[in-house]
Symmetry: C2
Subunit: 342 residues, 2 copies
Amino acid sequence: MPLPRPAFLRLPVLVLDLFLQRLQFNGCPLLRALIISRLYHRILLLRFWVGTMSARHQVFENGLEQVELLPATNDDHGGVIVEMKGSMASEVFATLLRASVSEWRRQGKKGVWIKLPIGLANLVDPAVKEGFCYHHAEPNYLMLVYWIPDTSSTIPLNASHCVGIGAIVLNDKRELLVVQEKSGIFQDTGVWKIPTGVVEEELFNLQGENLFMAAKREVKEETGIDTEFQEILAFRQSHKVFFQKSDLFFICMMRPLSFDIEKQELEIAAAQWMPLEEYADQPSTQKHKIFKYIADLCLAKMQSDYTGLSPLRITSAFNNNFSYLYLNSRDLNVSSNSSDQS
Amino acid sequence: MPLPRPAFLRLPVLVLDLFLQRLQFNGCPLLRALIISRLYHRILLLRFWVGTMSARHQVFENGLEQVELLPATNDDHGGVIVEMKGSMASEVFATLLRASVSEWRRQGKKGVWIKLPIGLANLVDPAVKEGFCYHHAEPNYLMLVYWIPDTSSTIPLNASHCVGIGAIVLNDKRELLVVQEKSGIFQDTGVWKIPTGVVEEELFNLQGENLFMAAKREVKEETGIDTEFQEILAFRQSHKVFFQKSDLFFICMMRPLSFDIEKQELEIAAAQWMPLEEYADQPSTQKHKIFKYIADLCLAKMQSDYTGLSPLRITSAFNNNFSYLYLNSRDLNVSSNSSDQS
C-alpha cells in the first residue's frame, strides 16, 4: 500500500484558515456555532493525522524512512500477536493496521492476531474491513485473526466444548446425595438428581479448574458436604448443546467426609441422602437414560468391582506446568494422586 | 429512556437551508466542495433520523403509540435473542437497541442475546456502548449479551475446552502405528509419535464430531490405515494451553483393519509400524510423561487386562438427540455400540 504523503495535511490546514477568515463576516449565531463545531472536528482530525504521520515515519541517520507498525510480538508459529491496550481513533488504527499487515506480508509472517479489549470496540469494524475474522471472544475482549499466506490456514480452532461434572456421593447406608434445583430444566419438577455443575475456567485467576476440583467444589457449594475424589466412572459427549457448541459431562465418584447437609439457598430447593433404590425408581430416572446409567453405576460400584479412571499428576516437559492424566490406575498398577491439589 | 421528539429534526433542516442560501454567495471552489460534502453528510444523517423515527413509531387506530423493537425471539430462560441479519446504520441500531432494552426491562426479561454476523461489525461498538459484553465468537459471527435484572447473572459460560485425540493402533506383531509431523512442536525433531488430532466441530454442518469418529478419521487421514474404535484408555486435562483455554486429550485404543500405510503429504513427514520397545526407548518418550504413559498403556493393554471406557449410544429425553456415554462396559456388563455411527 502506498503511504500517504505529508502534502495531504495541507488540505485541512487550508480549510481551517478559510473557515477562520469567514467567521469574521458571519453574524448568524446558529451558523457560527455550526462552523465552530466543524472547526473542532477538523482540528481533532488534524491531530490524528499528524499523530499518525509522526508515529509512522521516522527518518533515520542513513536517510531511510522507517514505517512504524502496530505494537506486536512474534508467536511460536511464524505469526504475530497485537495486543491493543490504549484507546486509538478508528481511522488511525485502520491506517496503521494496513501498513502493518503490508509489512508483515513482506516479512513472510503467517497468522496475525489482534486482541481487542471491549473498551476498544470501535476498532472491531476497521479490523474486519481490513479482512480480519473473529477467532474467539471472552466477556472482556475479542480476538481477531488474519491468515496472510496463500496456503490454507493452520490457525487452531476455538474452544469447542463446555465441560461439566456430576457427583455420585454414596454413604455407608446405600444412600445417594441428591438435590432438587431451583432453576434450569428440572425446576419445579420434583426430580431428585445428583449435584452437577460446570467446570470453571477462572479466567481472571488465569488458572483452569481440574475435574476433581470442580466435583469437590460443587458438592460442597450445593450441599455443604465435604468429599474426597475417587474416580471418573463415565462421561458423556453431546453436541449442539449450547449455540452449536458441544458438551462433555463427567460422572465422578466421591467419598463423603461429612454427612450433615447444609443446602445452598440460591440454586438448591432441597437436598437429602436418598436410598439408592428410591432414586432408581423415580420416573425421571427411567425416562432419562443418563439418570438410569447413574443408578446402574452406583449399583456396579457398590456390588461389583467397577473400575473408573483416576487422576495422575504429570508435568509438561515444555513448561513444567502440571496437568492430570485420568487412567485406570488399578489395571496400570499405579496410584493416583489427585489429593496433591484437591 | 425518554424517546427523542420529532422536533429534533428541525435543527438539521434549518442548517441545510442556511447552507443552501450561503452557497450562492461563495466563489471559492474549495470551500464550496467542502460545504457540499458537509451537506451530503447532513442529508444522510437526516435520512437515518427520519428512517429511525418512522420505524419506531406507529400510531394505531386507538391513538396509542407503538414503539418498534429489534426483531427478537424468546429463549427458554426468560431472555430474548436478537439475530441481526440485514445491514443497518449504527445510529439506527443504537436507537432501536436502547428502546428495545428499555421495553424488555419493562417486560421483566432477563438475558438479552445479540448475534451479529461479521458483515455487521459496525454494530459491535454501539452494542458495547449500550452495556453489552461479548459472550463468544466464531469466525463469522459475534455473540453479545446483556443481563437486565439486578440479580447476579445466570448466563451460561462460553465453551472452555479444546478437545483432541491420540490414537493407539497396535498390530499383531507388537508394532505401534507412529508418525513424524511436518509442523508443530515436534517438527524436525525426529520424534515418532502416535497420530493425534483435534475433534472437529463442523460448525457449518451443524453437527459435532464424536471422539471415536475423530480418532478413526485422524488415523485414516494421516496414515491411510482403517481402524475400528475400541476404548478410551485415558485422558489428560491441561490448562492455559491456548489463549487461557483448557484442553482435554483422549487416548483412544483402535484396532487396525488395514496395514498398508499411505501417509498424508501435507502434515506428515513419515509414518511407520514401529516395534513398541523402540517407541518406548526414544529419548522423547522418556522425557515427555504423556509419551511414557502411552507406552505403558500399550504394554498394559497387550500384557494384562487393562480396561478403558467404551461408548454407549444414549438418547436425550428432551429432543431425541443421540449422545455417547463412555463407560467401563465390561464391569457394567453392557456392550458398547460405537459402530452405530462410526
